[in-house]
Amino acid sequence: MINPIISIMAGFLLWSVLFVTLYGVQATGCHLAGLDVSTIGNRPALRAVLVALFLVSFAVIILFHRRARRRRMRRDSGNDMDAFSREVATHVWLGAAIATPLCFGGVIWLTLCGT
């Protein structure tokens, strides 16, 4: 049984890891691709990597949310503390599931490097 405090945070913890990873890969990728002066052109390889990371993580978060919701529905007996943490954790996973496409969907179509 995972510590309830950890399970409450888990959804957004994963979101944070995804955030750092995507931003880091974007910045490093642009740097490695070479910085031409004033380029806002296309970078297909970098975009593919970012989109893949995004889609995989999004799927994982959705799966975890559903898992949390199932656990909450299934065990509605048990002590108050368990019920509390399961409910809160489900809400947090839902929040992360909503936040992920909104925050990271831009990797699909926005300018990757340059200003």
Binding site: V37, S38, I40, L102, G106, L110, T115
Partner: protein, 219 residues
């Protein structure tokens, strides 16, 4: 415009746009203002109602209050707003149009406390200080950097700002619709001369532009 016309004008007013970038942002501002007024009235109205009207909303469950007001109300609005803003941002990065090879290229160097402009597409043109010459009706790409501290190049009537960071070159693409004079200023605190670090933009008719710098003196 919108009834507060006199209060919104001014040489440096973002609400008196003179180019497609600034116009696009100004339009967005008015839409956001109206939506904000509506949301504000709704929330404060609900607050006052729950406080002063006995029994107001009692039959609505807490889940509905919170789910409705805290999630169902803001989320779609934010979703639409950010998506539009991303599209608009892509549009503005290209100067409010698509990038074309006949973009005029200019270099801006920020110093303490003046702006120096170099005209890459006007061979032989002198550097100008404090005045930026551009052709009206064409997209201009300004490559901005600084030789000392961080400054920021801003011409509110034409578009948003871009910081001048030493060691980096950043780009701003703008277009002035009509010939005229537009004001610009530094918008990043850069020391005691910051308040006075202004410059002006002279947009010339396109046919006058190639010879514009022959007659101009430095400010």
């Amino acid at each position: 415009m919108m009834g507060i016309a006199a209060g919104c004008t001014g040489d440096l007013s973002a609400l008196e746009p003179a180019g497609p970038s600034a116009a696009s942002i100004a339009r967005l501002w008015w839409v956001m203002l109206i939506v904000s007024l509506l949301i504000f009235s709704l929330v404060i109205g609900l607050f006052l109602a729950t406080v002063f009207v006995p029994g107001f909303g009692r039959r609505i469950s807490a889940q509905s209050w919170i789910g409705g007001g805290g999630i169902a109300l803001p989320l779609p609005i934010l979703f639409v707003l950010t998506l539009y803003a991303f599209w608009q941002g892509e549009h503005l990065l290209r100067g409010g149009g698509s990038l074309s090879p006949d973009t005029i290229r200019i270099e801006a160097l920020a110093t303490r406390w003046n702006w120096q402009f170099a005209y890459l597409d006007l061979p032989g043109a002198p550097l100008t200080h404090g005045t930026l010459h551009i052709p009206a009706g064409r997209t201009v790409e300004i490559a901005v950097t600084s030789e000392d501290v961080i400054h920021s190049l801003w011409i509110p009537r034409l578009g948003g700002k871009i910081d001048a960071v030493p060691g980096h070159t950043t780009f701003l693409r703008l277009r002035a619709d009509t010939p005229g004079r537009y004001a610009g200023q530094c918008s990043e605190y850069c020391g005691t001369g910051h308040a006075g670090m202004r410059f002006e933009v002279l947009a010339h008719a396109p046919e006058d532009y190639p010879t514009a710098l022959d007659y101009q003196e430095d400010q």
